[in-house]
Amino acid sequence: MPRDEQRWFAGAAAGLWLLFVVQALCSPVLLDDWFSLRYWRDHAFGITELWAYARHNYFHYNPRIGEVFLAVVDGSRALHVIVTPLVQLALLPAVFVIAFGRWPRRTVRDLQLLLFTQAMIWLVIPIPGIMYFYRPFTTNYLWGFTITLALFVPYRLALSDVPRRWLAPIVFVLGWAAGMCNEHTGPTAMVAMAAFVYAAWRRRRLRTWMVAGLAGLYLGYPMLFFAPGQAVRYGGLATRDTPVKLLAERGITGCFGILFDFFYECRLGILLVVAAVVRYAITRGRDAAWPPRRERLTAGLLVGTASAIVVTLFVSPTTTDRVFFASGVLLVAAFAILAEHLFGEPVVRRFTVAACLVVFGYHVVRFVETGLAIGADNAERIALLEAAPAGSVAVVPTYTYALRSRWVPGDDFIYFPWLRDYVGGELYDLATVDLDRFDGTPAARSIATWTFATAPPLRRDAPTYRELQRMPDHTPLALRAGPARAFAITTTGLFKDPRRRPLYVLTWTPAGERFVDGRPEDEPAGHFIRVRRATLPEPIEDAYVTGCGIVDRVEPVPAGDAVQLPVDERYCRGPFTAIACEHARCWVAGWY
């Protein structure tokens, strides 16, 4: 290999890696990231706590292994900056191996094919900026499918290779992880795996590690599909919308609509490939040739595999842009095979590579531009939240790129107003967070009222519930404004009681005080708000847990010197607030 070509190759790989590192450094904390941060605030970052998190997810929330990866990269910025770019980079050679059955060589020709592949991936997948750089999607989909492709890499290479016993345990774990990644890619992966193993068996090249990988995949996918958490995820969507029901509702038109949606999303990539084919046909004229039969077959299988994953979506409750990622990548692998053939004609290669270079450059510019902007906005927002006095209402600017687009997920505080209460209240001890624009959503407010014997009552913003919880004694607070006769903290906007009772957080008089003390409790059976029984008024007529705009009437479960109120995480991860109601008034009774 010429040394110049090797240098070009290494430079390009380093450049792409650098792009991914810069983007990882700029990664904003958005939506799901906040929930992970909240978890790591209360738990030490380590294997034990990660296992507890994974276990809870598997049984009670989202069983995908990508959620665990998300917790890892949210828990450690260093790991995110190191591992995520490597995974993003690894996708490219993995696609190359799947397409060509060999590793890329450090030549300009292979570099051109890799450039084509990367540019086409960004062109074909619907929301590349979000899929690559919004951590929850990156870990669930990009990491997930890279693992799946990595599983198939040794199979794709192996049919002409020597036995490798040491691969068996690695491939087994890889197979299991690939099975645990995504519901919609698993069935196709299992069929493809069976085909690989059968082909190896027919050629008398079946190896132990091949069976190990198959066993891992065939274990991992059922573990994901039948995970207890599936029954509650998406608000129990999987149990409500059964495959038969979904098929009946969608009908033939609806199903083909999903397939059409996929190819519509790929249209720019298809357009560029069609242009290259047309140019090849025009240039070669009658000398134009089809790719060799073997390449045609491989490309056809890849298109079929991409389509099969889309067909799996016919029975999936969620068919949105992000689930087209795996199919898009496989389609690009098929395109790459075609491109290699077309590149045999220099003029086609020159123009197509130039076009891909422009597309690649355009994406890089947009990624960096939006990444730097949203990263800076996010850093500013976090700095403002950290600087705001506890109990106050923090006002933060909206993001420069506030709307969801091909490049960014948008401003999570705009799309999900309840998230402001969660982030403000639970992570920064603020009354809430307001945006300087687009703010039309009333948020909960707590008001502290001091009542005096002679002077008129005094009303001020109140400390948050968690701050009150940390105070060993509330008397200094009650006497802060002078010799009060009574002191109370009430909340509005948090909970609409059907009986319109006032909602109290704290009452104090010189004779005593009432503050209902409840806090998060994680058990193997689920997540609860544990309320100290001694702090509860008697009798309690109603108990509620409210969160994310939903109010659940719950039955308190006695648990020693406390009662447990179950947290329903089917729709979201919080914030949750427990409400306990007497006949005449209600109390904030804890948080999760």
Partner: protein, 83 residues
């Protein structure tokens, strides 16, 4: 003529209006109650998905360039082969 038709077809395909293809409106900010989910669930329900029209035009233009770009080398080779 064939090239012109191809170019027109490509431009039509690449620059088509897709405003009716997405169910959600990017300008609607207040999430409905049932959209108040976390992560993928939350994103699923809103999912405004505007396309980048500049990219559409860019790729259309590049596709045209791939088809009609000058090919001196190929012509030279053809002439050479014909001799």
């Amino acid at each position: 003529m064939v090239r012109l038709l191809l170019v027109l077809a490509i431009l039509f395909a690449a620059c088509g209006d897709d405003s009716s293809r997405r169910v959600a409106d990017a300008q609607v900010f207040d999430a409905p109650v049932d959209a108040a989910g976390s992560g993928s669930n939350a994103m699923t329900i809103l999912e405004p998905h505007p396309h980048d029209s500049k990219l559409d035009i860019l790729v259309a233009g590049l596709s045209v360039g791939v088809i009609v770009g000058p090919a001196f080398g190929a012509r030279r080779r053809k002439r050479r082969d014909a001799i």
